[in-house]
């Protein structure tokens, strides 16, 4: 199967909405308000923290509030710390600062950041464990959630269903990936990519036309 046709390609995984039967982004925003507009989304890798943060940001921006987003990388080192320091200092007082990967900062930098951003309208961070900010939500995954997401991704491609079904069962895949949904969905990507029956599908692009938000700017 061509990578562009794989129903589990990264852009489709990134397009999945946050879902958790126990809460909604709107309810979490209420909790955030009640907590003085400070809060953390915590959970292990691949459980939806970044997806949830993006949805909260979307709602905050839709309400007319400026949001400054900073994404820290595990290999970012000092440049990331410098960048977030600059953002915190430059940030308008009426803005909300969102930091994805708060616990990648060293302990002293986390405390300095919390101090320098106390004047801001709000702060939301993601982290792998409870941190300086009140926990708004703890992200969790389950084999059922994996099945729901896989079904959604496969819903437009019946041919690929066969490929996906050749991989280990979803409960086992979820366990093998330690609950990391991103890894599990990429396991399904590999299953589809290596299905020889899907390789026999037409290889020449069907250059149709489609509308939607611009891709050249994404």
């Amino acid at each position: 199967m061509r990578a562009r046709d794989n129903p589990f390609r990264s852009t489709r995984i990134d397009g999945l909405a946050f879902r958790d039967p126990t809460t909604t982004p709107d309810r979490l925003l209420v909790r955030w308000q009640q907590a003085g507009r400070r809060g953390a989304l915590i959970g292990p890798h691949g459980t939806g923290k970044t997806t949830l943060l993006a949805e909260l940001v979307q709602r905050i921006e839709a309400g007319g509030r400026p949001v400054i987003g900073v994404r820290l990388r595990a290999d970012g080192g000092r440049s990331d710390r410098a960048a977030i320091g600059c953002e915190a200092i430059r940030c308008r007082r009426d803005a909300v600062l969102c930091v994805d990967g708060f616990d990648l900062l060293p302990g002293y930098a986390r405390r300095v950041l919390a101090w320098t951003t106390r004047r801001l309208h709000g702060v939301i961070v993601t982290a792998h464990a409870p941190c300086l900010y009140p926990t708004l939500h703890e992200t969790r995954t389950s084999p059922e959630l994996l099945a729901e997401l896989a079904t959604e991704l496969l819903s437009h491609d019946p041919d690929a269903v066969a490929g996906a079904h050749r991989c280990p069962d979803l409960t086992r895949l979820h366990a093998d990936c330690g609950g990391n949904l991103r890894d599990a969905l990429f396991g399904l990507y590999r299953a589809c990519a290596s299905d020889r029956r899907l390789e026999e599908r037409p290889q020449v692009a069907d250059p149709g036309s489609s509308s939607g938000p611009p891709r050249s700017t994404q």
Partner: protein
């Protein structure tokens, strides 16, 4: 929002060799006049990893009004070619965007010397 944007390719031909010329006509019917329209010739990747993208050519139509049409022509770059493997595909496309805003239409094309997408096969072990 019922904006209509269209990219018509000359002869309906969406498969081209590198460095050849691609031409056609843009047409639009917008609810409200846009500040500008921008046609972008760009490539992007799809697959296992993060998306990468690059804009090769662009054409801006200032103050296009609510309804109109305009021909366009680009010389295609020498590469990269349109290709697909199991891990990554590279896709060329033309995209017409009404600015400011989110209205856009995209038309995929193939840019490859053999006039078909290059398909990467697994090397036999």
């Amino acid at each position: 929002m019922n904006d209509e944007l269209r990219i018509d390719l000359a002869g309906g031909d969406a498969i081209h060799r590198p460095r050849s010329r691609i031409s056609g006509e843009l047409a639009w019917r917008l609810d409200r006049p846009a500040e500008a329209l921008e046609l972008r010739l760009f490539w992007y990747t799809e697959g296992r990893g993060d998306r990468d993208a690059g804009i090769a050519r662009s054409l801006r139509v200032e103050s296009p009004g609510a309804i109109g049409a305009q021909p366009f022509e680009f010389e295609l770059p020498s590469g990269p070619y349109s290709f697909s493997g199991r891990l990554i595909s590279l896709v060329w496309a033309l995209e017409l965007i009404a600015l400011p805003g989110e209205s856009a239409v995209r038309r995929e094309i193939v840019v490859a010397p053999e006039r078909r997408e290059v398909v990467l096969h697994r090397t036999p072990a």
